[in-house]
């Protein structure tokens, strides 16, 4: 039994070379004792990983298609291509930020994630990432414009390990828009690891705009921690990708914090999109709110799992959760599960989950005004996802998402969202 399991891992890593540094060699060793999760594993119950685990990926080589114009939505941009920052495709002079690269050779035992936070995918990232990009928003700095982080992939059967750390220092304010793009339509697996460190009184908005390609595979893990009086929003927009799994883990370590998570996805074909969120309320007097809207078409499948823990002694916590799903086809499906663990008593927690079709009467009403059924459906879908779309304040990014709804999902440009 163990033999076949390790064989799978051996095959998966067969085309990957372990770099010669202590940190990554130790990670590679840890991997030897790990195996890919199956659907028997509660955390992966509804997501089959075969598309990832049965492929021997290679690390991406230097990007050849360097035109980023179709992805760029912000003047200030950092491009991480094939897991490495590209200075020639980055420019952020308008912003008072510090951008550093830190290499695995510089990593030590302090950087090893504790067992609770380490998964097989973060460990794979540990073992094979090329560099970590660290963006620091210095103390008291309010960014004048959003910063785009463009994560690019290229080539067939490629694995990339984008790794990003955002340090929002005390009382800083920033919006970071991460956009994932593919330069071709081949299969790339983005095993992405992001850490967000939000210091006291800081405000950080992190937009995750996933516009891979039809064959794109990604496991994106966002680990965030919030110090007192901070505000963090992590918003996820999934517009493409064959297999998408997002883990958003937010540890609220300080009091008087505000935490927002919003998500929107529109699927087609056989896409599978899984959002797992986890808010850990460790201390008192905090607020968290989460709102995920799914629109699933064709044979696509969606998973939403929203976990909230309110620890003992974390009093006066308000935690809200909503997941709304619209199935546009009989063959589309969704598994939605709230997971609330509440160990304190002065807590307001609520969750709601709805799954259904579009309102037939509304659809007919629009049609009787001369709008085709297809377009009427899209108008109603646009209204359904409207509240999540509103969380994108940046006009160009909003337009970028609309463009994808047009190109990937056949929307018309005149549909208001």
């Amino acid at each position: 039994m163990t033999l076949t399991l390790s064989k799978k891992m051996a095959e998966f890593t067969s085309r990957l070379e372990t770099p010669q540094n202590n940190y990554q060699q130790a990670a590679a060793e840890r991997l030897e004792n790990m195996d890919f999760p199956s659907t028997r594993d509660e955390y992966w119950k509804y997501t089959r990983l075969g598309k990832i685990t049965n492929t021997a990926f290679e690390l991406g080589t230097k990007l050849t298609k360097t035109d980023i114009s179709s992805f760029q939505t912000c003047d200030n941009i950092i491009t991480i291509a094939q897991g490495e920052i590209r200075d020639d495709l980055s420019s952020f002079n308008d912003l008072s930020i510090v951008v550093e690269r830190s290499f695995p050779g510089q990593f030590g035992v302090n950087n090893v994630r504790n067992e609770e936070k380490a998964t097989i995918f973060t460990t794979i990232n540990d073992a094979y990432f090329r560099e970590e990009v660290v963006i620091t928003i210095p103390k008291n700095t309010v960014l004048s414009a959003p910063l785009q982080v463009l994560v690019l992939h290229e080539g067939d059967q490629i694995i990339n390990m984008p790794r990003l750390r955002v340090v929002a220092e005390g009382s800083s304010e920033a919006t970071i828009i991460m956009t994932t793009g593919c330069q071709d339509n081949y299969t790339q697996f983005s095993n992405c690891l992001i850490e967000l460190d939000v210091a006291a009184n800081a405000k950080l908005t992190f937009q995750n705009v996933q516009t891979g390609n039809d064959n794109h595979l990604t496991i994106t893990t966002i680990d965030a921690r919030q110090a007192a009086d901070s505000r963090l929003a992590v918003n996820t927009f999934t517009l493409n990708g064959l297999l998408v799994r997002n883990n958003v883990n937010i540890a609220v370590d300080g009091q008087n914090c505000e935490t927002h998570m919003n998500g929107m996805l529109v699927t087609k074909g056989k896409q599978h999109v899984d959002n797992h969120t986890f808010v850990d309320h460790k201390v008192s007097n905090c607020f968290s709110n989460e709102n995920y809207k799914y629109v699933l078409d064709d044979q696509s499948t969606g998973v939403f799992n929203g976990k909230v823990i309110v620890r003992k002694d974390a009093q006066v916590i308000n935690a809200y959760q909503n997941n709304g799903n619209i199935l546009l086809s009989d063959q589309a499906s969704v598994d939605s599960k709230p997971e609330l663990e509440i160990y304190a008593d002065d807590v307001k927690c609520s969750h709601g989950s709805t799954t259904g079709q579009l309102d037939e009467n509304a659809l007919f009403y629009l049609q009787t005004r001369g709008i085709s059924k297809e377009k009427s459906e899209k108008i109603l879908v646009g209204a359904f996802i409207g509240d999540v779309m509103e969380t994108i304040e940046d006009e160009a990014t909003n337009q970028y998402i609309k463009n994808h709804l047009q190109e990937v999902h056949g929307w018309d440009s005149d549909i208001e969202i």
């Binding site: 309102d359 509304a362 629009l366 049609q367 009787t368 005004r369 001369g370 709008i371 209204a383």
Partner: protein, 255 residues
């Protein structure tokens, strides 16, 4: 002689899932320039007629035909019927949160124009149209730009229906109980709006069960729909007679 805009022949329709027969051989011919009133007891099938003519799912036409201006309507999707010039003012207008009234109307007008091979309306022309037409039914222009019918009062919803009719300029408009829930002032406003939209090239079918509305929108013909058929047709004096005598004398006479 003016041309026939709506020609309904021997229409039979039933509820798809239950097989319950609602329309049982209905005939109605409406010519350009005419106003027809359809009256009848609750549950007679008036709204069903409106639904079937406009193409709502869930009804099966088992016999008969519906033509509009020579086109077979039953062959067309609901939006195509609208593009051909049909309009339905709903008895119960639907609230559509998140969809702006004027944005969807603009989409509708442009789709209709595209279908007819006409040029799209410019934003400026569209807005002046909105101003002009909302005045017609005294619909607050703020309401015009809110989400479709969301939080509108009953009267506002009905005025919004006529506002949309004014924007879309249909050949044939079916007004399903547009008077219900309106106070007398609102009724006058709505009726005046409809009267302004009437001309020799279009036609209006007014479904109501009160004679009251017909004082303001004066019909050329009054039909009584009972048990899925037109059981009596007369001029506007029939409405007064119905007001006095009710419908029983007609339904029993026919039984």
């Amino acid at each position: 002689m003016s041309k026939i805009l709506i020609d309904i022949k021997n229409l039979h329709a039933e509820i798809e899932d239950e097989g319950k027969k609602i329309l049982k051989g209905l005939n109605l011919t409406v010519k350009a320039g005419e106003v027809h009133a359809i009256m009848g007891p609750n549950g007679a099938g008036k709204s069903t007629l409106a639904s079937v003519v406009s193409g709502k799912d869930g009804y099966e036409v088992t016999e008969g035909s519906v033509e509009m201006d020579g086109k077979d309507l039953l062959e067309l999707d609901p939006d195509e019927r609208a593009k051909e010039g049909l309009f339905l003012a709903f008895q119960y207008p639907v609230e559509i949160p998140g969809v702006s009234n004027i944005n969807f109307l603009r989409t509708a007008i442009n789709e209709i124009k595209e279908y007819r091979g006409e040029e799209a309306v410019s934003a400026k022309d569209f807005m002046s149209m909105v101003r002009e037409k909302s005045k017609l039914v005294e619909l607050d222009s703020k309401l015009a730009s809110r989400a479709v019918n969301e939080g509108f009062s009953g009267g506002e919803k009905k005025r919004n229906e006529i506002f949309q009719m004014a924007m879309l300029e249909p050949k044939v408009a079916i007004l399903d109980e547009t008077d219900s829930g309106l106070d007398i002032d609102a009724l006058r406003i709505v009726a005046a709006g409809v009267n302004k939209l009437r001309n020799e090239n279009n036609a209006v079918i007014v479904i109501t069960h009160y004679q009251r509305l017909l004082d303001y929108i004066v019909p050329d013909f009054v039909h009584v729909l009972a048990d899925g058929k037109i059981v009596k047709t007369g001029d506007k004096s029939l409405a007064l007679e119905l007001e006095e005598k009710g419908y029983d004398w007609l339904t029993t006479e026919n039984a």
